[in-house]
Symmetry: C2
Subunit: 476 residues, 2 copies
């Protein structure tokens, strides 16, 4: 607690790093580009895993595990895929003391190794669909890394499904997009836009890519999850066919989808403040800390007595910590728990014991609320629900504030720099105009919204006609 | 189901592989020595993870994640460690399209990378103990691999703790050994011996290693988990000291401990039979399958009606499947579910509906039990408990049957080959005698038991005096 966290307005990027390092969420490792996820940060990833894994299983998916290594020749089988991923791979050339006959790539993603297995497993329409997910580590050699947001090694889940028809694959792609949206909003309290990526931004090897995109407090966009309809590209590359009911042999349809430890970065960036982490109740390991305050031994006994009783019966689905450490003053404890982002703090002093009340402090608003002990249980349960909702609302309000409809390219260039945000503009659909915007402003098309306004317009850059607006933003 | 499983007495090794491949627990991958863990097999690993993770957390441990890659120079810091692991490492020499300045080893275990971080995190006695566990993949280049038992890449958990005193570290090492023993016996129904490894068999870099050892059905031993007291070896290698209460600076004490996907192999080998997998109820994803039997549509309606009602209210903590597929006959379904190891099968036919009874078949004993519907719920809950216990008892009885006290080396050589098993013999403690036994018979010292019989004796090989018997066996 010795160091101060840099304020967001002073240096947003340093603020983010301070929260992580001082909050002991993660640390830099001696391996270039790789981070260590410390227990406090890993607990957030465990929450993400638990909720998402349940949602995957509820929608019929099962987990499996495929090898870390991918033979070089496999990567080369799908043309777009190898072009996209090969330059950023780590390559194993030696094993067991000898040079390998064929180099092995450390998986940057697992489509190729998985589809080589699907070829063995899929014979007939009876073997479909396959709805497999994998929790794993992947490696993509990154030049500029940032804790959680972009690291050479990261943890993720990757779903890989196989279907008999295009329609089924498309349905799966959209079903998972909805799982991601629901998880982001209902659990992480992060509002997301959903839509389709442009051709330049889609996954290397996909037919098309859907995504969820969130706005961070610096108004930059963070791609937070992607769901790809892979068409028959990998089935073609690995010659995976099935015998259909009518006896004919057909190529299999595929999807893949993933979210990563990057979500922990999003959680930090969307909600935290200059005092540290702020967590929505559903993502916190502990929802409540009770801090007893005393000066004399006599006071201590009474205060701890009440604190103990309160702790025992506070709420059903939440975890409560009683911080009765002797060696630290209350003020120190407040700062420490604020840094850790614990949603609610209950302060109990000698006067509170007399008045049979306590003080609750909300981490997100820092509002102080005096509550009679008898009403505490109800109040707490209610506050946790309210807080979960209001944190989402607050993030949504910020996103609305920095969402602009822009028709003029000069105005676009100004607004994207100051104040920044999500800019809805018309685009003709050409790669050239998309690239010009990127070169001029660093903004990219974050997504083509589903609820694309059906208004006709003219392209921001070239003036050609456009069928609807797309969302531009600067991205992490 | 088309293929038959090879009988154990025909070819034990092929039997094991048949169970795995035909039961779709795992498959060979195109990457040398690496396996694919299929959903049915991975579900067993998820059970192991869930139970153990809860036990680790109950004993104060937290999870974290450290990098997959270890710089070559780090491996070299602990002399024994590098000697033991370096020859079996996979080495990354290229990343992001360029040759690396320093080679990176894919972790064979994480002591070195973790202790380089502990150096940053440990300043004072207040920072101790650190009780961290990691769920991860590791790679050890293996020449001869076997599904689950020995693969180049495998999944495991590795605990790495740091302590202020030797005594604390030793207490931790033994605490985890007890967690492993309890988990193996109470959940996996696998009886284990506990004890200490000889110097030749201990972990490369440890002061001493404790282990749990189980007997498979072919009477071979499987090392199923290890817990190492690392002394101050890694603290010395990475110069990790803490300031103690008295102001002096001291080297930190360490432990590490792990179990891996090898446990899935143990689970298969200990309990399964010539019809497929046999699972103790606590390890099965589904405990019960209901198989309705009918010939006419009229029968079908009545049978399914009863099956549905039974399914709804069968038991609290277990999962029930109703296999009402039309296209398969009951006999086919029986074989299929037997192969999958589901603990209890309930058969319901038209005559059972009339008599208001059902037939339960236990997977382990294949015993048929007629039960009135009204008693079903109680009977099921009772059977699951009994079966869990009896499977452990049966494995224990087999181990007892093939445990021998051997004093004569000629007899030893005979018994270790036929019938095989755990041989308790006197050993003088010398590496030479240990090696001679291995060279002559392929048997190794599996462990030095804690409850070492305090009887004096003379070494099996050299006749020198011995303080107690150790356990010899042939091992996987």
């Amino acid at each position: 607690m010795a160091e101060r966290i840099t304020k967001r307005e002073t240096d947003y990027s340093k603020w983010y790093t301070d929260i992580i390092i001082q909050g002991k969420l993660a640390d830099y490792s001696p391996v270039k580009g790789c981070m260590v996820i410390r227990p406090t940060g890993y607990a957030l990833w465990e929450k993400i895993q638990k909720y998402l894994d349940d949602m995957f299983k509820e929608t019929g998916h099962v987990n499996a595990y495929f090898p870390l290594f991918i033979p070089e020749s496999f990567m080369e089988k799908e043309a777009e895929h190898v072009k996209g991923f090969s330059p950023e791979c780590a390559v194993v050339t030696h094993g067991g003391g000898a040079k390998l006959e064929e180099n092995l790539y450390v998986r940057p993603t697992s489509e190729t190794i998985i589809w080589s297995m699907y070829k063995k497993w899929i014979m007939s329409y009876r073997d479909l669909p396959i709805l497999i997910n994998q929790w794993a580590n992947v490696v993509r050699w990154e030049m500029r890394t940032r804790l959680f947001l972009r690291t050479t090694e990261f943890l993720w889940q990757e779903g890989h499904t196989a279907h008999a028809t295009y329609e089924e694959a498309e349905e799966e792609t959209l079903k998972i997009l909805e799982v991601y949206r629901k998880f982001a909003e209902d659990y992480m309290a992060i509002p997301v836009l959903i839509g389709k990526k442009s051709e330049s931004e889609k996954f290397a090897g996909a037919k098309h890519t859907y995504c969820i995109e969130a706005m961070m407090q610096d108004k930059k966009a963070l791609q937070s999850g992607t769901s790809h309809n892979l068409g028959q590209n990998f089935a073609k590359a690995f010659d995976v066919k099935f015998q259909d009911k009518d006896g004919s042999r057909k190529l299999v349809w595929a999807t893949s989808w993933g979210v990563s430890t990057r979500l922990v970065g999003a959680l930090i960036m969307v909600h935290s403040d200059d005092n540290g982490l702020v967590l929505p109740p559903k993502m916190a390991t502990n929802q409540i800390v009770i801090i007893p305050i005393w000066k004399s031994d006599d006071q201590k006994e009474k205060v701890l007595n009440l604190a103990d009783n309160i702790k025992k019966d506070l709420c059903q689905d939440c975890s409560v910590i009683l911080d009765d450490r002797d060696q630290y003053k209350p003020g120190y404890k407040y700062s420490e728990w604020e840094l850790q982002g614990i949603p609610l703090r209950i302060e109990i002093g000698p006067r509170d014991v007399e008045n049979n009340q306590v003080v609750i402090v909300r981490r997100d608003t820092r509002e102080k609320i005096f509550v009679p002990v008898i009403e505490l249980r109800n109040k707490i349960n209610n506050l946790l629900v309210v807080m979960q909702k209001e944190m989402l609302d607050k993030a949504k309000a910020m996103r609305e504030e920095f969402t602009f409809m822009i028709n003029d390219y000069n105005e676009f260039k100004k607004v994207i720099d100051e104040p920044g945000g999500f800019l809805y503009s018309h685009w003709c659909g050409s790669v050239e105009c998309e690239r010009k915007v990127k070169d001029d402003t660093k903004a990219t098309i974050r997504l083509i919204p589903f609820e694309k306004k059906k208004e006709k317009g003219t392209c921001l850059v070239c003036g050609e006609k456009s069928e609807g607006r797309v969302v531009f933003g600067k991205a992490y």
